[in-house]
Structures are given as C-alpha cells and as structure tokens.
C-alpha cells in the first residue's frame, strides 16, 4: 500500500510538471500584454529591431511621464512642433509649418493635413488644429506637475483661430526655455486629454495612444514593443519621408552579454547600447575581414557623436573643495586623454574646458578658453595645490556601482590626484545612495552627466550656477552647491535675450564661460557618446559623418528620437537586399 502511495505521488509530480510546462500557454490564452495586435508575426525582412533605450517592459506611452514612457512615445507616436538638428545647428519646423516672434507674442502656423491616428487600428480619428496646440501649451502652463511647466513660465495666455496659434508672453519672455519647449514638448489631442483629470494627464499609462507620428503602436510583450507603419502620416506627403521597414520593434534591454551577442547574431539592427570595445569590431569590419558588418556614426575615432558632458562635481560647501586653487589643482591634475584612450578605447571625445558640447561651438569664446582654460599639467596642479593650503584631508570620489566605464574612469582620476598629493579614494555606492549624496550635499567629489545636449548653452549654465541652494538639491541643478549671485543674475539675463540677438548672447555666454573657468565648481572631463551601432545584415545606409546627405542623429533615446533628427535617419534606411 505504501509503495503504491509513493507511485501515486511520483505520478502526481510528473503531472504537475507537465501542467507547469503549459502554464505560459494558459497565460497566453488568458490574454497577454498584447495591445490588440493585428499580427502574430513580424517578418524579419520588414522589421527594424532596435535596442539600447528601454530597461523595463513597455507599459507606458504617456509622453508626460518621463519616468516610465517607452521608447518611441515621442517621435514615433507623438511629435513636437519643431525638431532640432544638433549636427547642423538648426531648427526644423515639424508640426508647426512655421513660426516666429512678433513683439512679445510667438505666432505658430500649425501644419495642415496632419491626422490624429489611433493605435493599433491605424484609423484616422481627427485632424490636428490650433486647438490641439493651444491645449498642449496650456496644459504645460496650468499643471505644475507637467514636466515642461518651467519652460512656459513666462506665457500669459494662448489664443487661436483655425491653424494659427498666438502665444502671449509677459514683457520679458524666457526665449530659451520657450525654444526648448518648441522642440521637446509633444502636441497632444485636445479632444482626448482634456477629458482626463490633472493627475491622469501625468500618470495614465495611455496604452492606446492617439497620435500624429510615423508609426502606430502594434503590440507589446514583456520584452518588446512593436510599432507598425502609419499609412496616414503627414511626413510622407509633405516632406517625402517614408520608412522602408513596415515594423519597428524595440527590445527591452537585458544584460550586456545578451545585448552584444544579439547584435552580433544580427537579431538587433540598431543598437544604442554602450558596448565597451565595440571599436575593435568596427575596425575589423571596416578592414573587410572579420565581417561583423557593424557601422558607427564616425568610421574611426571618436566613432560616436557626443551626447552629454561628464564632469567632476566638487562639493564647494566643504573644505578643501571650497577653495578655488584646490579645484584648479584637481582640474590640472587629471589626464583625461588617458581615460579616453584606455577606458574608452577612443570612443569618446575629451571635453572642451568650458564643457559645452561640440554642437554649441559657436558660443564658445576661444579667447576666454585660451586665457582661462585648463589642460593636463601635473606641475601646475602641484603649484595650485600648494597655494590652496590643502591639509591632506582624506577625500572620496563617487560613481554609481555598475557603471563600469565611470568606475574605471575614477580609478584613473584617483591615481592622478594621489600622484600630486591629494588623498582620494574611489567609491562605488548604489545609484540611489550616490543620488541622495549629491542631492543632500553629503559627498566630496562625484561624476555626473546631467548636462545633456541642448540647442543653447543656457541649460548648461543654469545647471552650474542655479540659486538659491536648497537643503535638498532635488532638481538636477548646481550639485556643486556653488554660490555666485552675479553669475546667476547673468544666466537669468541670458534667458531673456532673443535667440536672434546672437551678438548679445555670445557676449553673455562668453562672460559666463569666463566665470566658470575662473571658479571651476565642476571640472568638465569628457563627452559621453551617443552610443550607436548599426548592423548591416538586413538594413543599410545608417547615418554617417562621411555621407553629407545622411548626417542625422542615430539615437532612439527619449529626448533624441522625438526631438532631433532620428526620424530622418530612420527614413534613410534601406533594405540590405
């Protein structure tokens, strides 16, 4: 009897095992996360696979929730009024057909013939009008939780008639912030968003988006979001842009080893991952022998466009970082060239001493840089260190654990600083710990790259000089806690200079560059790359610096895809066969 019981149990176990194996099927039958898919299979030759932007499954397509929105929410679905081309430093009218200042009013002519298209059906449910644009501006203005709220702080009111929208400003419009709004903030359909509560507008998942962009949301699973061609997209008729792929599937990022092998196995076409050592594969491919077929934006060093400035924050409320000579000693002691070549194998560019990204070169005052700029010079560093009266305090420098390139970077920096006699130890706390250290000012030195690409130097200098300094610097501003009221007044003044007054802007920014280089609250080190690898097995004609007709941003990250020229890059792709 006992024996038969054991047998029964063994059989029950086997049955349980078999039942568990069909468990995924049951969950499929019960309906997975698919957003009413129209297809069950995406043919490889008609699909562009992208990766390197998303770290969690696609559950959120709300363009206002910058914490969770999935890749493509802005760009493939929702679109802004303008785009910004950082490579040629110009704005491209997008949902605005044209626009411009008239006194303290900004007049927008909304592009005609733009349809609101529902996902996933692809049905047209309305037409873009001045009402939608006015609604989107008012939403930012009236809802303090709107991420673009600060950009429209000087907007008084918005009026519209037909396709013309007039934005009325106070007597001193914040030109720069408004310009950033124009090429970053998406236009939303008033008929849908006006029915939501203020909280919903910012936090709803919006999984059935109604938008104007080149694609519609086709399906989502826990590992990817797939978009399908929007046959009603205005860009095809009006700009002659069309995607040769029918579907675009963006894969959720997994571990680095999987990402690299997926790219090499040609399962990913367009990768925006940071893949250390990719330069070696690219070189091999270009040599024609190794055949990985991988392209980067530049065919040789630096391979990648610059995306943001990595700088060394110094907590200027603490000694010895509160001493300008100490900060200068640090700046002169760091051999960034060595980090560029050893840590990044040439995949990044050493930063200009001002830290302004290459697209803002026109604003960099060369005479200021040659007079006040710094470069690697250990002897001069020692002189400044002596002047600072450094008493041998033990200091730390932090980067988040797991950011391997930065971890290697601060190892080099620590060695350089120790070499001139500054006692620094590298530390790798968890991201959350390091974030709260910087926000609360409980750190000595740290790397950060908040200063991302922008069309003017304004946000860069706001980050450096913003006042007042709060007990918690929660917004990503002035983590060095550096106080220079005069410089901050100048930043505020720069905000109210019209962008057309380039002479005035250049003089103000020149002065700010000088203030920055004389005080060095942060030491600009290198520019993190706009990491991009294109796999040529299925798709070719990726953006390239060597092709004047295809110099577009090859980046799907939020803030790039829907704001810069990535759509042009996508439209230029061609099937390999």
């Amino acid at each position: 009897m006992l024996r038969s019981k054991t047998k029964v149990l063994a059989r029950a176990g086997t049955a349980l095992a078999a039942a568990a194996m069909v468990a995924p099927l049951i969950s499929v039958a019960a309906g997975s996360g698919s957003a009413g898919a129209q297809t069950t299979n995406y043919p490889r030759s008609e699909t562009l696979y992208t990766s390197g932007t998303a770290y969690s499954p696609p559950n959120n397509f709300n363009p206002n929730d910058l914490g969770s929105l999935y890749t493509g929410t802005v760009g493939l679905l929702y679109e802004p009024l303008y785009l910004y081309d950082p490579i040629h430093s110009k704005y491209i009218p997008w949902l605005a057909k044209s626009g411009g200042w008239s006194g303290t009013n900004y007049v927008i002519h909304v592009r005609p013939g733009v349809d609101w298209v529902a996902s996933p059906s692809g049905n047209v449910v309305g037409t873009l009008s001045g009402a939608d644009v006015a609604f989107s501006i008012n939403l930012a203005k009236d809802n303090p939780a709107d991420p673009w709220n600060a950009n429209v702080s000087t907007v008084k009111s918005v009026t519209y008639g037909g396709d013309t929208v007039i934005v009325h400003f106070t007597s001193h419009p914040a030109y720069t912030s408004w310009q950033d709004f124009l090429w970053n903030a998406p236009v939303l359909p008033a008929s849908i968003w006006s029915k939501m509560s203020a909280t919903q507008q910012m936090t709803a998942a919006n999984t059935s988006p109604v938008a104007t962009g080149p694609m519609v949301l086709s399906s989502t699973t826990s590992t990817q979001a797939c978009f399908a061609h929007n046959p009603h997209w205005w860009g095809t008729a009006q700009l002659g842009l069309s995607f040769k792929f029918k579907y675009l599937c963006d894969e959720v990022n997994s571990s680095n080893n999987v990402e690299l092998s997926q790219l090499l196995a040609t399962n990913i076409d367009w990768s925006n991952n940071f893949l250390p050592g990719i330069a070696a594969l690219v070189n091999g491919a270009l040599g024609g022998n190794s055949g990985y077929g991988i392209k980067t934006y530049y065919p040789s060093k630096p391979y990648m466009l610059s995306a943001n400035t990595v700088w060394l924050d110094m907590n200027t409320t603490k000694a010895p970082m509160n001493n300008v000579n100490f900060r200068k000693a640090v700046a002169y002691a760091i051999n960034t060239q060595q980090i560029q070549s050893s840590v990044y194998t040439g995949m990044v560019q050493v930063a200009n001493p001002t830290g302004l990204l290459p697209n803002l070169d026109q604003y960099v005052d060369k005479s200021v840089v040659s007079k006040y700029g710094f470069s690697y010079n250990p002897n001069l560093a020692k002189k400044y260190l002596k002047l600072s009266g450094y008493k041998g305090q033990k200091l730390t420098i932090e980067v988040p654990d797991g950011w391997t390139d930065w971890m290697a970077g601060i190892d080099v920096i620590s060695q350089d600083l120790n070499a001139i006699g500054i006692h620094v130890t590298p530390e790798y706390p968890q991201y959350a710990t390091r974030e709260s250290d910087l926000i609360n000012g409980t750190y000595d030195m740290a790397l950060d790259n908040n200063a991302g690409i922008d069309s003017t130097p304004w946000s860069y200098f706001q980050r450096v000089f913003n006042l007042p300094i709060l007990p918690k610097q929660s917004a990503t501003l002035n983590w060095a806690r550096f106080s220079d009221p005069k410089a901050w007044a100048l930043v505020q003044q720069a905000a109210t200079v019209p962008l057309s007054d380039t002479a005035k802007l250049k003089s103000v920014y020149g002065q700010l560059e000088q203030d920055f280089l004389q005080a060095l609250p942060d030491v600009p080190l290198w520019y993190n790359g706009a990491w991009f690898q294109g796999q040529t097995k299925y798709w070719t004609n990726y953006p390239s610096a060597t092709n004047p007709a295809d110099q577009y941003t090859p980046v799907m990250w939020h803030g790039w895809l829907g704001a810069m020229t990535t759509i042009y890059a996508l439209a230029n792709l061609k099937p390999a066969s």
Binding site: Y42, N60, N149, Q430, A475
Partner: protein
C-alpha cells in the same frame, strides 16, 4: 493528526508573518526614496516642478502617509492581492507584472525540480547496486552538483547556443513572434525553454543522484536489511525497503533545497534572458524597483511555504513512523 497539522500551520503562519514583515521592511532601509530616483529620470530643471511631481508620485506610490500606515496598507494589500504599483513599469500594478512572469518560472522550476528529484532518486538507487552506473553517473553527478548555475548556464549558452547554434539563447519564444495559441508558437516556446530547463535540471539531478546512491548503500548495510536477507527475502524486496527508507531524508532535503533551486533559477533566467520571475528580480534590483521586488519575494515566500507544507503532508503519507507517533500522541 489534527494537532500535528495545526501546529505546523501555526509555524507556517508565523513564518509568513515574519517573512512578509522583513520583506516590507528591508527595502525601506535602503538610502534615498523611490520617488527621488523616479524623478531623477525627468532631469527636471525647476525645483517647483520637482515639488509638484514629488507630491503626485508620492501619492501614486502610497508614500504620502506615515510609515506605520504604509505597513498597515501593505498588509491590507497582501490580503487583496494588491502589492502597489511598480515604478520601473509605472503605472502597471505589481501583481499583474508578477502574474505574467510567473508561468515562465513555473514552467522551468516545476518540471526541473520534480523530474530531477524523481529521476535523480531512481538513477542514484540504481547506481548503488550497479558498478558500471556507479562509475559513470556518480562522477558526472558530482561535477553537475558542484557547478554554479551561472557557470553551467553560460557554458550551455556558449556551446549549444552560440557555438553549435542548436538552441536559441535569449527570450521565451522567437523574436518576431507574438504569443498565440498556435503550434508554431508552442514549438518556439519549447525550443527556447529547453536550455534553461536543462541547466536547472542538471544541477539538481546530480545532487539527488549522489544523495540517493549514498543513502541506499547505507540502508543496504543496516541491521534490518541483514535480518531481511537472513530470513531469505528476495533481493528485490530488500531493495524496495532500502529505497523507501532512503527516500525519507531526500524528501526533507527537497524542502531545504527549494530556496537554493529558486536562487539558481534567477541566475539561469538572467543568463538566458528568460522572462520569468528570476529575470524580473534582476530587473527590479537593477532598477531599484522595490515595490516590485517585495511583491516577487512575497510570492516566493508563499510559494516556498506552500511547497514545504505539501512536503510535510507527503512526509506523513510516506513515513509510517510519523503517522504512528501522531496516533500515539492522540491516544
């Protein structure tokens, strides 16, 4: 019997209460707060906007009330299967995310655990009396048992996936496919399932086979088997008794091993990018999404406790001594 189960149930409830409380408390000891990390992604350049968003999301995550209230709300949520919202997948409820990943983990774990246990015990028992098997299965068992899951998984992925390209190494089904009730999907599912399953299976299998082999050898040398043999019992009967006695420690071992196997499963899922709970834990940790993390751990706590309880019941069924002692206690 009743007293035995009531006592066991009491122990499990206490373990559940303590486990769940620790599960709730530990993430809250982490530095920073989740809203702060969430808002870091906004790259806000205005303290005013930050305050407004902070208020909005603190409320959305249920963090706008005192800590004791958060604790009570958490228990309230536990009883309503509501573990809050994930903040790496905001505004998706944690319970929904877990439900969609759970089938994949069950599909790996349940067959791997039961098959490795059943087959491991059988093969181990056979090895105990067949020299050839003992010389082949035993060394192989030692190698597999000693192998870290991650290493075996990587070796599998490299040789069978990347080098020979017999099996895919990423995902639960083919890349261009969407889940559907079709044979091609089922085939793809099985094809992707095989390597991660094999990894978890092999490591466990080795352990059970070795354990069983040693136990059976021990049982075959005990006084009762000698007595049986002296009575002229057939070798078959002797082996049967030895097996039944040897399986008891193995059963206790199964209860103890569950946690280890689940841990190994996490690593295996990460290596194969398999969309189960293990991969979810990895994503929740790297995204510091501790609502999701505590939800998954709660599921694991419940799963392990239920499995242990089932094993307790099974133990009573297969071990007459436990039943007899309970009857004695009742008398």
């Amino acid at each position: 019997m009743r007293r035995y189960f009531v006592r066991k149930l009491g122990t499990y409830l206490l373990a559940f209460f303590l486990g769940t409380t620790i599960d709730w408390g530990i993430p809250r000891l982490m530095p920073g707060n989740p809203v702060q990390i969430y808002l870091a992604k906004f790259q806000l350049q205005s303290p005013g906007s930050w305050e407004a968003l902070n208020k909005l999301f603190s409320k959305a995550f249920g963090l706008d009330v005192p800590v004791w209230r958060q604790y009570l709300n958490f228990w309230d949520g536990v009883f309503h299967w509501n573990f809050g919202v994930s903040y790496t997948e905001f505004p998706e409820p944690v319970s929904r995310i877990i439900w969609s990943a759970l089938p994949y983990t069950l599909a790996l774990l349940v067959p791997a655990i039961t098959l490795s246990y059943v087959l491991g015990n059988r093969v181990g028992a056979m090895a105990a009396r067949r020299k050839a098997l003992d010389n082949s299965v035993l060394p192989a068992g030692y190698v597999f048992q000693a192998m870290p899951y991650a290493w075996l998984a990587l070796a599998m992925a490299f040789f069978l996936g990347a080098y020979y390209r017999w099996f895919p190494i990423s995902g639960a089904y083919a890349q261009g496919m969407l889940p559907s009730a079709s044979w091609s999907f089922v085939a793809s599912l099985l094809y992707h399932w095989f390597l991660p399953f094999l990894t978890v299976f092999l490591v466990s299998f080795g352990g059970w086979a070795i354990g069983m082999r040693n136990l059976v050898i021990y049982e075959l040398e005990t006084d009762y088997t000698r007595y049986l043999r002296s009575l002229g019992a057939s070798e078959r009967l002797v082996r049967r008794y030895a097996y039944r006695n040897a399986v008891l420690p193995q059963l206790s071992g199964l209860a103890l091993q569950l946690g280890v196997v689940i841990g190994g499963n996490i690593v295996t899922e990460v290596v194969f990018n398999y969309p189960g709970l293990g991969n979810l834990i990895y994503k929740a940790i790297s995204g510091e999404d501790y609502f999701l993390l505590q939800g998954i751990f709660l599921f694991i706590i419940i799963g392990v406790l239920i499995a242990n309880f089932v094993i307790d019941i099974v133990y009573v069924m297969v071990d007459p001594r436990t039943r007899l002692s309970m009857q004695g206690a009742q008398a």
